[in-house]
Assembly symmetry: C3
Homo-oligomer: 292 residues x 3
């Protein structure tokens, strides 16, 4: 049996204005039986790479359905509105601007299979104000496209296929573009990808890299942020509660990445200079010496 | 076929307390099959005119259903709880306090056809605490009324008809009360009606006024805020992306109104003294001179 | 007829990250036909007693369904994941960590009837990353348990019964633990339990205590915060609108508790030192004297 689909909605619209509610209303008008689930609308305004990272973190857990993602500094420009088809058990269409927002999530879901550029004229509902400029594509193009696709409509009815190789990717030096870190003279380098509400600092680093460096449970690591000379000692633990009060820890987080944490406190606010994109270096401590 | 109705919920309740969730729970108890869509709950506390403007902007896009709107500084006073019937394809009932919050949206929807004052005794559910004061009418009166009306209940069963002429309107000098601006010695005057999350500054001004003043694409306009002597030059463009970095622009926004903008930055934070209600004057620049 | 159940979701996850959306997606995957209603996700991080107080305030109004509550500083520690069965017409299961978050609400609902400790292995879905630590139990344990219970699953299939006497309660000196205030030499003492968005200050005090002290409508009360020597005069009124501008008032709030308020303004911001947990003393004013 095919599971019930849902719509998964992420944006930088915020919750103070009516943008999110109006898009939900359009989705309900055009696909009334499909639930629409908000991921978050508090991506920083115009922060495409932050939105892309959030979407990539979320998609493995969402299940069957269609993603509507709008962080769109180029709205009204030549940037293409797109729908990207993916395989696997998760969301099978990703809809939004062709600015790199969708592509990382598409790769998490097995890669883009096909892609379509959406046709503004065929999508804009009759109730959209004809005189207004193209400033609210979430309402006028993307939500109608999502409603069409989630109810089984053909993509060719609302757009034109384009080669997936032409999809815009985020710059290589953008924080979320996942440079592969590796042990180099015993050091792992990785950028900060996310600081969450609790102040946990996620790195673009898989725990297997720590394993290869010989950093196991309870082993300590010297962590340096950016180019600063100072380092802080962290202990690798299984859970927050394994830490003493005020002790810095390294855990594997809920996305399977390495994160720098404190127990019941914000690691980010204690680590001066921490920010998304800053590079962190980690060096195992030789426990046979008495370094502190 | 009649489309599936929804409930559209706007308030100044915020999202930090449980108010919004409790009202949703009451709606679900009393109208379990009807989806309830949040427009926004971050209207400034007690800001009736801000809520009224938001509701008026949103209603053209909502479709079939019932509006629940609560910005209610007079809760517990003599102000009447009301339901207003409107025509057309959009929401057909607006429910909330009779303090001007609903009336502008009703006019956008074709005007109030009939109105009822709601009967507290007949509406308050048995689970509401009998000893408490009338401080949470959203939970105790408005949500039950919305559930009754959206499921096809007769308005006469929960209230008494009143003449629509008696409905409270916002003061004439309130910012959202839409004074009609017009070209006067070549100048358009219009109040700021909204500053959105991105810092775009919406004016209560239709683009046709600019057209009549001879301001076309790429033409420049001198904009003065309030009574200040200084002005700023703006260029009329079709989309944000037509602007250079840091260049002020005039666009037609997603509600069909004139807005003062920057590309990927906040115009409001760059224009000293901008606030909702401040009057803006716009004077076309004679492009045959070399004014800058 | 049994009413349609819903899921009621409260947490300290905030709305800036994707946590809430991911949990909703898991609930939809596992219980697609059950609506999930957000109470609030802006409980202060790790504030178990604040979350417990919010949940206890909300449950009388929610109706049939299952509560999912996550404020969980001890995630990954030995604290037990639990499901608590309650009687009555409201929510009949409360699911979350065994840290006191659920117990006050359970008592509001008639007390815990049975309780189960949840089995992590049987609950964690196959899509959860096997390598990650136990840092997101809302997604990996609690949401699956809620989906199981709200769709009629047997609790014994996902956990083991435990005596309700073993459930963790909040400390006696925690602000939400409801010490019974009473008239003592004509004085009522009560802690502040909540400051809401509007700045209303709720006390853990029933209006019957004021009645017993002889404080009726329009009577005045001297209110002292904490151990300070200063007091402020309040007038007992029925509704905010009975107050003059700037006059402090005492009302019975929407939860049937005594609250300190101003009309259309924040009482909390005007009362220096007000905070959750601070003790407030109230002394009736002898109206035969001319105290001011």
């Amino acid at each position: 049996v095919v599971p019930d689909p849902a719509i998964f909605f992420l944006s930088d619209y915020g919750n103070a204005d009516e943008f999110v509610g109006v898009v939900h209303a359009v989705l309900h008008r055009m696909a009334p039986s499909i639930p629409a689930i908000d991921l978050s609308h508090q991506v920083d305004p115009f922060d495409v790479s932050g939105g892309a990272a959030m979407l990539a973190r979320a998609v493995p857990f969402l299940g069957h359905g269609v993603v509507l993602a709008v962080v769109d500094p180029g709205v009204g420009s030549g940037r293409r509105p797109i729908a990207v088809r993916t395989g696997g058990d998760g969301p099978y269409w990703l809809v939004g601007p062709d600015n790199g927002l969708l592509i990382e999530a598409a790769h998490v879901l097995g890669g883009p299979a096909t892609a379509f550029v959406l046709d503004r004229q065929r999508l804009t509902p009759q109730w959209s104000p004809s005189g207004s400029g193209p400033t609210f594509d979430g309402r006028d193009i993307f939500a109608p496209a999502v409603a069409h696709l989630v109810t089984g409509g053909e993509p060719a009815a609302i757009g034109t296929e384009i080669p997936t190789e032409t999809l815009v990717r985020l710059d290589a030096d953008s924080p979320s573009s996942r440079p592969v870190p590796g042990p180099e003279a015993g050091t792992a380098m990785a950028p900060v990808t996310w600081i969450d509400r609790y102040g946990n600092v996620q790195l673009d680093l898989l725990p297997s890299v720590l394993d290869e460096m010989g950093v196991g449970a309870n082993d300590r690591v010297r962590v340096t942020l950016g180019s600063g000379p100072d380092h802080v000692l962290f202990r690798r633990v299984r859970a927050f509660s394994d830490l003493e009060a005020g002790e810095f820890g390294i855990v594997v987080d809920a996305n399977g990445r390495v994160a720098l944490v404190l127990d019941q406190a914000s690691a980010a606010s204690r680590l001066v200079g921490t920010d998304v994109g800053v590079t962190v270096s980690l060096v195992p401590v030789d426990e046979s010496t008495h370094e502190r």
